[in-house]
Amino acid sequence: MNDYLSGLGALLQQYDVLGAFWTNIQLTFWGALIALALGTLLALMRISPIASLRWAGATYVSIFRNTPLTIIMTFMVMGVWTALQIQLADNFEDNFFRLAVVGLAVYHAAFVCEAIRSGVNTVPLGQAEAARAIGLSFLPAARLIILPQAFRGATAPLGNTLIALLKNSTVAAAASVSWETSSTMKTMIEFNPNYLWEIFAVFAIGYVILVIPIGLLTTWLSRRLAVKR
C-alpha cells in the first residue's frame, strides 16, 4: 500500500500535471476571447444588409464548422507557419501556443456566430421594428437594441461553446503544443501502464472540476439574464 502511494506520488511529481492544466486553461482563455470577437463579427455579417457580407459569413461558418479541429490545428503549423511563414513569436513555445490559440479561435468562432444568431432569434420582431421606427439604421440598431438582447438569449449556447472549447484545447497536441494535458496523460500512461486508472482519474476529475462550474454558471446566468417577456 505504501509502495503504491509513494509510486503514485512520485509519478505526479515527475510530470507537471498542474502545469499541463494551466496550459489548457490559457489556451481556452485566449481562444475564447478571440472566438467571441470574431464570432460576433461573423454574426453581424450574417444579419447585415449587404448580401456579399452575408454570403461571406455563411461560407466561413460552413467551412470551419465542418472541418475536424485536428486538421485545422495541423494546418496552423504546416500551412500557416511552414508554408506561409507567418511567425507569431520568436521562440517556439510561444509560437506554437499562439498558433494553437488561433486555430481554436477560428474553429469556435463559427459556433459562437451560430450561438449569437440563435440569440438574435429570441429577440421579438417588435424590438427591431421599434428600433427602425425611431430612426436607427442597421449598425446602431444592432449595437443598441438587438445584440444586447441577443447575447442574453445566447448565454446558454455560448456557455456550451466555451465548455467545448476547453475540452477541445486538448487537440492543441496536433499543433505541437506537447506540454498540454492530453499529451502529458498519454506519455504518463505509456511509461506507467500499471497506474492507468489513477492517471485517467486525475485528468478526468480535473476536467470535471473545470467544466461543472462553467455549466452551473451559464445555467444561472442564462436564467438571470433572460429577458422577461
Binding site: 511552414t82 505541437s176 506537447s178 500512461i189 501502464p193
Partner: protein
C-alpha cells in the same frame, strides 16, 4: 404517430447499419485485425511512413525493416501469406505490444533500458546512429553542438530531440510533428534548421523527398541499436536471434541494406555493423 416514429428510427438504424456493413466489407482488403486473427498467422508492427525502412507503397510494404521482418518470420515458420503488417507509429509502439495489437515490431525500434522495463527486445539487427539532416548548402551545422539557438524538428514520441537538448545544445528549439515528412517539409521551407533522427532514416528521407537539396551531416553521435520489439515475457526471443544471426551469416543482411539504401549515398557504420544479437532476457 407511434408507427411513424418507429418507422423513422428503423430507417435511420438500417441506413447506419448498411453504412457500417459496407465499411466492414471493403476494408477487409486492407491489413487490419489483431494478433488473434486466424490463430496461426503473425502480426508484425512496422512503420508505414519511413521511406527506405518501412513504407506503405500502394498495396505493398517496402523497406529494410520490412525485409528483415519477412526473413525472420519465414525462419520462425510463417509463410508470406501468414504475415499481417500493421502500422506502429513511434508514439504507440510500447502500447501496441502491451495491448497485443502486434506480435513483434520491426520499426526502427532502439533498444533502451527505459523501454526494456515495459517490453522485451530481440536483436539488435542493425546499428544506426543519430545524425542531422540539413539543407545541402548549410555549412554551419556540422554536429549537434552547433544547434545552440537553432530550430530542430523531430517526431512525437521519439527521444532523439530530447537527447540533443539535454546532452549537446540546451538552447535548441524543438518542433514535434507526428511524422518525419512534416519535418522535412518544414526544413525545406527553412522554418527549421535541422531534422534529427537516425542516419539510416534520414538517408531514406533525403532520397525520397530531397531532390538533392538536403543532406545528411554524416557525423553520427549515438548508437541506436535496432531491436525486435516483443511483449514482456515473450518466448520468441531466442528463435529471432538465431534467425538474425543466420541472415547476417548467409549474406542476406548485406544485400538488404544495399538494396534499401540505393541512391541515398549511405553506408552503415562498419565498426558496429553487422551487429551480434544480445543474449535474451
Amino acid at each position: 404517430m407511434r408507427k411513424h416514429t418507429m418507422g423513422l428510427l428503423a430507417m435511420a438504424a438500417a441506413s447506419t447499419l448498411a453504412l457500417s456493413a459496407c465499411g466492414g466489407a471493403e476494408v477487409g482488403g486492407e491489413p487490419e485485425g489483431g494478433a488473434s486473427e486466424g490463430g496461426d498467422g503473425i502480426t508484425i508492427g512496422i512503420k508505414y511512413d519511413q521511406p527506405g525502412l518501412g513504407l506503405q507503397d500502394g498495396a505493398e510494404y517496402t523497406g529494410f525493416d520490412v525485409d528483415v521482418a519477412r526473413y525472420v518470420a519465414n525462419e520462425l515458420g510463417y509463410s508470406e501469406d501468414q504475415i499481417t503488417f500493421k502500422e506502429t507509429p513511434s508514439a504507440n509502439r510500447e502500447s501496441m505490444l502491451q495491448n497485443g495489437d502486434v506480435d513483434m515490431i520491426f520499426a526502427t525500434y532502439s533498444i533502451t533500458d527505459e523501454r526494456k522495463e515495459v517490453i522485451d527486445f530481440a536483436g539488435p539487427y542493425f546499428v544506426a546512429g543519430q545524425d542531422l539532416l540539413v539543407a545541402a548548402d548549410n555549412t554551419d551545422i556540422t554536429g549537434p553542438e552547433d544547434l545552440e539557438g537553432k530550430n530542430l524538428c523531430s517526431v512525437t514520441g521519439s527521444t532523439s530531440a530530447e537527447k540533443i537538448k539535454t546532452d549537446y545544445a540546451e538552447g535548441v528549439q524543438l518542433l514535434e510533428r507526428p511524422g518525419y515528412a512534416e519535418c522535412v517539409t518544414a526544413l525545406a521551407a527553412g522554418q527549421v534548421d535541422a531534422v534529427t533522427t537516425d542516419d539510416i532514416i534520414l538517408a531514406g528521407l533525403s532520397a525520397a523527398n530531397g531532390d538533392g537539396n538536403l543532406k545528411v551531416v554524416g557525423a553520427p553521435f549515438s548508437e541506436e541499436r535496432y531491436g525486435v520489439g516483443l511483449p514482456k515475457g515473450s518466448d520468441r526471443c531466442e528463435d529471432i536471434n538465431a534467425a538474425i544471426t543466420k541472415m547476417i551469416d548467409d549474406g542476406t543482411w548485406e544485400e538488404l541494406v544495399a538494396a534499401n539504401t540505393e541512391g541515398a549515398d549511405y553506408t552503415p557504420n562498419a565498426d558496429l555493423n553487422p551487429p551480434t544479437p544480445d543474449a535474451c532476457a
